[in-house]
């Protein structure tokens, strides 16, 4: 075991996979000589050389598209989008190509690419360095979207993503990078993509969330425990396709469900979670399904007043959880 930050878990997973499999290579903007603007690829350029940690031109569609071509050839590219907000020029390559190649070729070709991108707010990143972009891709069969919440999950899930024979979008919360630290095994391990994870067992209310909000919810849960409110917390981990069985189980367990996302509310991942619950275990519910999310404005502002207003935080979680428990 070693204490590792969330971003160290990223670097460790990348390095171990590159050592394990020669076909794994990294491409993206500033990932090489600089080691990434967040230093996720620090040291890898020196260790593995230019063609395994390739500084690309400033062209997201080509980063994705060249990665897809290399993956079709048989490589295992790990493409970095410098910020999730800048994945937009690559949407055509991701949705029209990566997601559909296996299906359209009737299983002849496949695209084992991993696309990493830092997402999320609370870092004074303003409108274009703070967004959650998962819902743009969360209606595209053929894709998997992983959004880990802890260093341990990062290491196991990033390795799983790289070994996956289908395209995986891997979104890392940039505020978690240095904020979150925990013991992470030094051995090789993978965690299953497509499976949610219970982060806290509880019996009074169920919170379903993912990413940094898992921590906000856990912090709130500790406080509420003092008041005798016992929260069950399910971390989705993979937000597309969703782990329906785990969602149904967690919702049914307490009958009171709060869904949390940092994304704008309307059209976010948690809408689909609500739909799954309403479809499958409506009669187990003792309260309306509550949602806590960002407001429906284009993205979070830079000014600290407005940024704080937008962001989910432990206090907002605590209030929503208490309201639900008291329903």
């Amino acid at each position: 075991m070693a204490v590792m930050s969330y971003i160290q878990a990223v670097t460790t997973a990348l390095r171990e996979e590159m050592l394990r499999d020669e076909k794994v290579f990294i491409l993206g903007e500033d990932v090489g000589k600089k080691g990434g603007v967040f230093r996720a690829t620090e040291g890898l350029f020196d260790e593995f050389g230019e063609y395994r940690v390739l500084d690309t031109p400033l062209t997201e569609s080509a980063i994705a598209g060249v990665g897809i071509g290399a993956a079709m050839y048989g490589m295992r590219p790990v493409a970095e989008m410098q910020f999730a907000d800048f994945i937009m020029p690559a949407v055509n390559q991701i949705i029209s190509e990566a997601a559909k190649t296996r299906y359209r070729s009737n299983n002849d070709w496949n695209v084992p690419i991993t696309i990493r991108a830092p997402y999320g707010g609370g870092v004074h990143g303003a409108l274009y360095h703070s967004q959650s972009v998962e819902s743009v891709f969360a209606n595209q069969p053929g894709l998997k979207i992983v959004m880990p919440s802890t260093p341990y999950d990062v290491k196991g899930l990033l390795k799983a993503a790289i070994r996956d024979n289908d395209p995986v979008l891997f979104f890392e919360h940039k505020r978690a990078y240095r904020l979150l630290k925990e013991d992470v095994p030094e051995e090789d391990y993978v965690l299953p993509i497509g499976k949610a994870d219970v982060k806290r067992e509880g019996s009074d209310i169920t919170v379903i969330t993912y990413g940094l909000c898992v921590h906000f919810a856990l912090q709130a849960a500790e406080k509420l425990a003092e008041e005798g409110i016992d929260a069950h917390i399910l971390d989705l981990r993979t937000v597309y396709p969703l782990d329906k069985a785990a969602i149904i189980e967690a919702a049914s367990k307490t009958g009171k469900v709060l869904l949390i996302t940092e994304d704008n509310k309307e059209g976010s991942i948690i809408g689909e979670v609500a739909a799954i619950i309403a479809e499958n275990c409506l009669f187990d519910l003792d309260a309306p399904i509550m949602r806590l999310a960002g407001p429906d404005v284009p993205a979070m502002p830079y000014a600290p007043t407005m940024e704080r207003y937008f962001m989910v935080n432990p206090e907002k979680c605590e209030k929503a959880m208490r309201d639900l428990a008291e329903f």
Binding site: A62, G65, V66, I68, P89, S96, N106, D108, D166
Partner: protein
Amino acid sequence: MTNRHKKLGISDDEVLNIYKTMLLARKIDERMWLLNRAGKIPFVISCQGQEAAQVGASYALNRNTDYVAPYYRDLGVVLSFGMTAKEVMLSAFAKAEDPNSGGRQMPGHFGQKKNRILSGSSPVTTQVPHAVGVALAARIEKKDLVSFVTLGEGSSNQGDFHEGLNFAGVHKLPVITMVENNQYAISVPFDKQVASENVSIRAKSYGMVGVTIDGNDPLAIYEAVHEARNRAIEGEGGTLIEAVSYRLTAHSSDDDDRYREKHEVDEAKKSDSLVTFGNYLKEENLLSSNLEIEINNELDSVVNEATDYAENAPYAEPEDALKYVYEE
């Protein structure tokens, strides 16, 4: 006195194969239009007018090692790379056995892994970065192969063209890009589409060699691709080739073609490569009347058999629609 193909190192047999492949492409294409007009297949999109470029280029590649990322008109490319008439017809009829997509995609959406034909989609130009990715993989793996990608001149305005070729140019990757300039992108003619005087001049933006070639001359195309391949293998990077011809049919079976004048099409037909290249072979005494009849008969029966087989082949089961979203 050696003739043109010998100078290029092409044997008499090989040059006849080029012709036969062009003719097969034409015959399959014509048959698909008939089938479409008879209501038997819902859609056709043509190679007619571009066979010379497609087959000439393909024969200059190493058809056992190189990768191709063709676009929807490239019947000549995929036939050269090993797809059979039967396989093409299975795709036209959308039958389960179609190796391109199992009947999932429209005809013209090629893909066949065993022949290193990358699977293609409908949104134009996405294949350019893919071909660059294959070339990058070849570089990383130190393999002596090139990737070959084609697109229309209209498609050369898409962002993916620029981003893909610039990426290849920065790393001098072994990718050959052939723009099949058939003068139109559906209804929009060249000058409302492409701001440069020609497409090949765009090579300068990518530090590449660029050449504009008569797309009705398979030997001229062969030569350009052959040289491009040599440069690529020598580590000198990619080449942008513009093959100029004319789209002899409407854009597709859904298009009525009213936006251009009949006499323009008639004029273009005079340079139809099937005729002009046939004449070359006749002048070189490689294509006697007898041989011509023989070849036509042979290819007609290939097309007939392919059609019959494909027409009678089964569709995929309805629930097959659920298969192969992810690895199974």
